[in-house]
């Protein structure tokens, strides 16, 4: 097993915010099972702020921990702040990820951004 940090193990064993928010304002999916990781983020947005965020993850320990971490980092942030979260930051918050886990499982921020973009596209469409 890759040598995961305590923080990763903590998020893997006790993942936060699992699931799908009801009637999501935005949905973001990344990855696919071929590469081994797939994440689906759903967000609730209120006053330009991420009021709630949940995820479903098919993937390895790192992928699960990353999803959990991203959900914690995003919650309560404004959309602009949340969009600034990078995969690198997530990995750092987790106390680092093994080298071979950096690119494949570390897609949490991308999934979050996609959910935000989805929300913004929808908002623009309904505004337009």
């Amino acid at each position: 097993m890759p040598e995961y940090s305590d923080k990763v193990m903590d998020h893997f064993t006790k993942p936060r915010n699992i699931g799908e928010v009801e009637e999501p304002d935005g949905v973001g999916e990344v990855g696919n099972p071929v590469c081994g990781d797939m994440m689906k983020f759903t967000i609730k947005v209120k006053d330009n702020m991420i009021e709630d965020v949940k995820y479903l993850t098919f993937g390895c320990g790192a992928a699960i921990a990353v999803s959990s971490m991203v959900s914690e980092m995003a919650k309560g942030k404004t959309l602009e702040e949340a969009k600034k979260i990078t995969n690198k930051q997530v990995a750092e918050e987790l106390g680092g990820l093994p080298g071979n886990k950096m690119h494949c499982s570390n897609l949490g921020a991308d999934a979050l951004h996609k959910a935000i973009e989805d929300y913004q596209a929808k908002a623009q469409a309904s505004a337009g």
């Binding site: 081994g36 993937g59 699960i64």
Partner: protein, 395 residues
């Protein structure tokens, strides 16, 4: 915490009596078998006794056994050794798509040198079809190398038929029997096998012990050139303790093969029944009957193998997986791909291999934990939620 190893294919504890047999050759009988004086005699005789025992395990005369440090080395000596000796002219090699990397990777290298390689497909159980071997043979074919059994999904190949076909065309037939030797009966003479690789650590012998059977008349180029140990096919001071251990393990494996196999099969089948009863959407990988006694391989739909593995480990249960995240090269198992397992199911595969400490008493514990963990991981899996919504399994 309870500990249940279900990954004995990766490694098994050395049999106590094998270790005991080895110990004197570290200290008391430490001599060099090539020495011209008495100190070399005991080690030399011990090596020859081991050669007898390893030969007997696979129906070979002692003198056709070459000791190596691993099955990987035996495979490399067999394939590259034969190709480089270049006795038979041609540029074509036939193998299967489910071989171990120590076969596949050298063949990739040989392809770069200009050799052509045919990788025979396998059916959904992982079996090679002898008719396809027959069809693949050309007058340029210089080697057929097909494993005896697959270490991951357990499928046993129709070795005698495959060897007979190669033999009928006068093409050397090599089999990587690292996963099979010690577990199922093998007879190189009766089966017409020309080269056979095995690994001691796969039947409770020491790590760093392997052997290559080389039929009389087959010429090989050594990988390790130097002294004339092992008939000049493998230079270097003999690793006497490892060889002694390999010999003892081979003896024990031959003597107890039926017993060991029966015990493994019984527990394996009960384990399989237990988990299939408890957990929906499991899939058996490999042949339902023609498989290694100690091997079980299942795919757990909707979840990924490393996560399973980590959770199981937290419950003291050790397994391995064909998922890309557990592989060191970050690709999911080429074996599962070859038998047509979908990418999702390949990610959720578990290889369970029984061993000396396996006990049917552990089955409830295994099943309980696997069921619980599966539920937990499925509940957070987008694939599972999709399945629940769409009511069908895409996998």
């Amino acid at each position: 915490m309870k500990t249940v190893n279900l990954d004995y294919a990766a490694a098994a504890p050395l049999d106590k009596s094998v270790l005991e047999a080895m110990i004197p050759y570290f200290t008391e009988h430490y001599g060099n078998p090539s020495s011209g004086h008495t100190l070399g005699e005991k080690p030399r005789k011990a090596i020859e006794k081991a050669r007898e025992n390893v030969g007997r395990l696979i129906g070979s005369e002692a003198k056709n056994i070459i000791f190596t440090a691993s099955a990987s080395e035996a495979n490399n000596l067999a394939v590259k050794g034969l190709v480089r000796a270049g006795k038979k002219k041609g540029d074509h090699i036939i193998t299967s798509g489910v071989e171990h990397f120590s076969i596949l990777n050298q063949l990739k290298g040989l392809e770069k040198e200009g050799y052509r390689v045919t990788r025979l497909p396998v059916d959904s159980y992982g079996s090679v079809d002898p008719a396809q071997l027959e069809a693949a043979i050309t007058d340029q074919t210089i080697l057929v190398t097909i494993q005896a059994a697959n270490p991951e999904i357990g499928t046993i190949q129709p070795l005698e038929e495959l060897a007979a076909i190669a033999g009928a065309h006068d093409i050397p037939f090599h089999t990587d029997a690292a996963a099979a030797a010690g577990w199922i009966p093998i007879d190189v003479e009766k089966s017409g096998i020309d080269l056979l690789s095995l690994a001691g650590d796969q039947f409770y012998g020491p790590k760093g012990s392997g052997a290559l059977y080389v039929r009389r008349g087959i010429r090989l180029m050594p990988l390790v050139e130097g002294g004339i140990q092992e008939k000049g096919l493998r230079a270097g001071t003999e690793n006497v303790p490892a060889i002694v251990g390999l010999g003892e393990a081979a003896k024990a494996a031959l003597e107890t093969m039926e017993e060991r196999a029966a015990k493994a099969v019984e527990m394996r089948d009960r384990l399989k029944e237990s988990i299939f009863d408890a957990i929906p959407n499991l899939h058996l990988n490999g042949h339902p009957e023609k498989r290694l006694p100690r091997n079980l391989n299942v795919s757990v739909s909707f979840v990924e193998g490393e996560a399973l593995l980590m959770r199981l480990q937290m419950a003291g249960i050790y397994v391995s997986s064909g998922s890309s995240c557990t592989s060191q090269v970050l690709k999911s198992s080429h074996v599962l791909t070859a038998i047509g397992v979908s990418p999702e199911l390949a990610q959720g595969s578990l290889q369970l291999t029984l061993g000396p400490e396996s006990s049917p008493e552990d089955i409830p514990y295994i099943t309980e934990n696997l069921a619980e963990i599966t539920t937990l991981l499925r509940n957070m899996s987008p694939l599972y939620h999709q399945y629940l919504k769409e009511g069908k399994n895409n996998a």
